[in-house]
Amino acid sequence: MSSGNLILIALIIPLAATVLIALANKLPNLREAITLLSAVALIIVVYSILPLVLDGNSPGLLLFEIFPGLEIYFELEPLGMLFACIASLLWLINSIYSIGYMRGNNESNQTRFYIFFAIAIFSTIGVAFAGNLVTLFIFYEVLTLSTYPLVTHKGTQDAIHGGRVYLGILLSTSICFFLSAIIWTNVLADTTDFKTGGILNHVNDNSIILLLLLLYAYGIGKAALMPMHKWLPAAMVAPTPVSALLHAVAVVKAGVFSIVKIVSYIFSPALLSDIIELNFLLYLSGATIIIASIIALKSDNLKRRLAYSTISQLSYVIMATAILVPISIMGAAMHILAHAFGKITLFFAAGSIYTASGKTKVSELDGIGRAMPWTMGAFAIGSLSMIGVPPTAGFLSKWFILQGAFTIESWFAVTVIVISTLLNAAYFLPIVYMAFFKEAKSHNTISNGEAPLPIVLALCFTALMTIVLFLYPVYAMQILTLLTGNVS
């Protein structure tokens, strides 16, 4: 089968799943079977494209042309491939988890939930495979719109309010800044294709380049660079599987992925490092890392703490990109991967605690580790990965980023990484400690043991993956090496 067809099939699978899920509205078991089967099918397709990319090919597919200069075009390159692999794999895991969570909590409107989830995955794959900015933008917007019903799933006043913030910030930043920047790029370069070496090299005016970079950095609100981060905590009103996959993996990763991709293939790091005198992206992301970590430290709500931790981890990726050397960009990509598995584990654990005991606050978790050893064990591994301690994947990415920071001798970046590592430890380790070593408060009767089996299975798998990635990083490294080849 030709590679173009494979790309098309990868997009069609989640889309077809939505139709089938809608048809199976009245039959929950069939409906969930469809979700799982299509997730498996997607994994097979995506991983069958993988060898092509590893061989150094970049298959493309021109779907159609809206009008000249505005094409829906897909092209594979290492970074997008990596993102697609993460998203498709985690869709399966997350679906297993969702089944446990949604049934365990008797959520309403479950069909709607699965439908929009599949659409969100469809748009994530679209973002990953996008061959030009226009395609990227289109799927980026579809992702925003399709996750809105998921965020407001509960339909309460809080959910509506959270949804409004979510949609308001993401849509307005993307239309205001991102779209303007894309059209501007199109006017300057007469194309919006992602090309190795960038497409803006002929622009002589440095201030235009810097302004464009600023527009992209804030236009991609999904990357949650402060002060465009408010939507992320607001979106925590969603059910946990949504927070887990979308706000720890698909949505936010689509944001930082877009930034890495734009810096690598629209500007090219070489161009930027030549002209950038004050590396504002570095400082903005550094500030975001520290501020978000401090807010996380002060939050008692577990999901809110995780949300702010996500914000700070996203800025790691942006900062790594802003260091503008191949090794740090490799670190950025690695961090996308490592954070995906680490953070989804943490969210899974938070949802597991909520399902089993109804607890949402950090201060209520004393002694819970004894009742839920698997959950809290996975939580501990996820935390270690966030902090960047071996043997977890988080260590590898931090290593690369630090190496990059030393290469350009940016002491600012080094300091930020050191301080934030301490802060990370300060807000994650006490949870682990309290859960395992403190006595449960007497009036606060601890629960009925572990959460349903699908939940436990899912979170153990992701925790395991975090360690496996550290021990066997061969395949990941292979993709990342290709990426560094493209950006250097």
């Binding site: 159609f64 809206i66 009008f67 505005l70 226009v134 933008f137 289109i138 917007e141 579809v142 719109l145 407001t152 339909g155 509506i160 949804g163 409004r164 949609l167 308001g168 849509l171 307005s172 239309i175 205001c176 800044f177 779209l179 303007s180 059209i183 501007w184 199109n186 006017v187």
Partner: protein, 492 residues
Amino acid sequence: MLSNHLPILQVVIPLIFAPVCVILRNGTLSWVLASLVSCITFIIACLLLTSVSGGNNITYALGGWVAPAGIEYHVDLLTAYMLLIINAVAAVVVIAARESMASEIASDRLYLFYAAFLLNLTGLLGVVMTGDAFNLFVFIEIASLSSYAMISISRDRRCLYAAFKYLILGTIGASFILISVGLLYAVTGTLNIFDLSDRLGNVENTNTVITALIFFTIGIAIKAAIFPLHLWLPDAYTYSPVIVSTFLAGTTTKVFIYALIRFIYSLFGYEFSFNQLVLNDLLMILACGAVLYGSIQAIRQDSIKRLLAYSSIAQIGYMVLGISIATELGLAASLAHVFNHAVIKVALFLSVACIIYRYNTEMISQLHGISKFMPYTSACFLFGGLSLIGIPLTAGFTSKWLLIQASFSAGYWSLVIIIVFSSILSILYVWKVVEAAYFKTPAVELSNNNTQNAPRLLYIALFIFVLANLYFGTETSVNIGFAKDIAYGLVN
């Protein structure tokens, strides 16, 4: 040969059948007649479009009197493009109109509505078709007078006042256009638009011509509801029967935008209007005002019809903005938006028509949770709204893209900021409706089962236009393709 007479048939067929409606004195028969007539004119428009799309223009001398002495009908790509928009909207809306109109106005007045509708169609088609400046004025007045009548036909007494206000302002506008035509005639001695443009070359800088241009611009600005001369529009759209609002929103103001483009590019000349008189600067300021004012006002409305009316003012601002950028791309953006906005607004108004038919209200505060009871209508409104905001893969996105691209290429940074800012405002007012429809607790009155769901034809019309929004967002050879060709033809 009949096919040689298509240009005149286009205008005369609705004109002849309008009085027939009055003679019939029967609502249903008049509806059948009006539907048939608008289908026929739509087919003629398609035929005209195919015959001019190759690049050869058609001229038709009325009664065999050759221009400049006689009146000439002139069909080029711009004309055919406008004919297509008007006729498509007219045909679909009038076919869908029957039950909705019957529920909104007294049954013994129905035939009068269809007569007025056909006259309005005549006027609009005539404005687009004619190559004669005075004839243009006459057709403008035919269109306007019949629209005053259509607005005042509603049961709601406030429509009368709205119609009268429109009548006063509209007549002043038309008179200004007439003065402009008179002044042009005084300096050139001809009324044919193309002949005029040839002869103006020698006398361009006289005060008479400049005054003529000013009078014309103001007159058209009133008629096309360009801010700040838009005062008649919100009331007219709000209080008239919803089918009338739909039709007016889809056609009337667009036709006057057409007249503006035609006069600037084919008559006064691009060089004279923009480079010497800097009309574009004036238009740009007005357009920016329109875009911001219309959007902000729209956010404050509770009536969906009024909200859409203010949004129309903002969207007209976009069209004028495209013209005022004064480049080929800007003009193309403006023309594409004329098309797209017709498709968007008709879809939105038709979904409001469905809601009004069933619940007899268009107040957002009374329609909480309506998506539970009218899921298809709400979904259609959602898609129409997304297109209005300019979400990718909808028609609205394509023209917004062109508009921003044109602003960038011409170096107008401030315009980009205004366009994107007003897009945010449009998210706010569209979301106001969507949120009420989807995420508020359903109002008790809505769960009343005795209400009658909207008629099937109305739904079909709605679906056609919503699908058109998606179709023209992906396959753009009609809207963007023709708009670019036309702009190329007019500028060069």
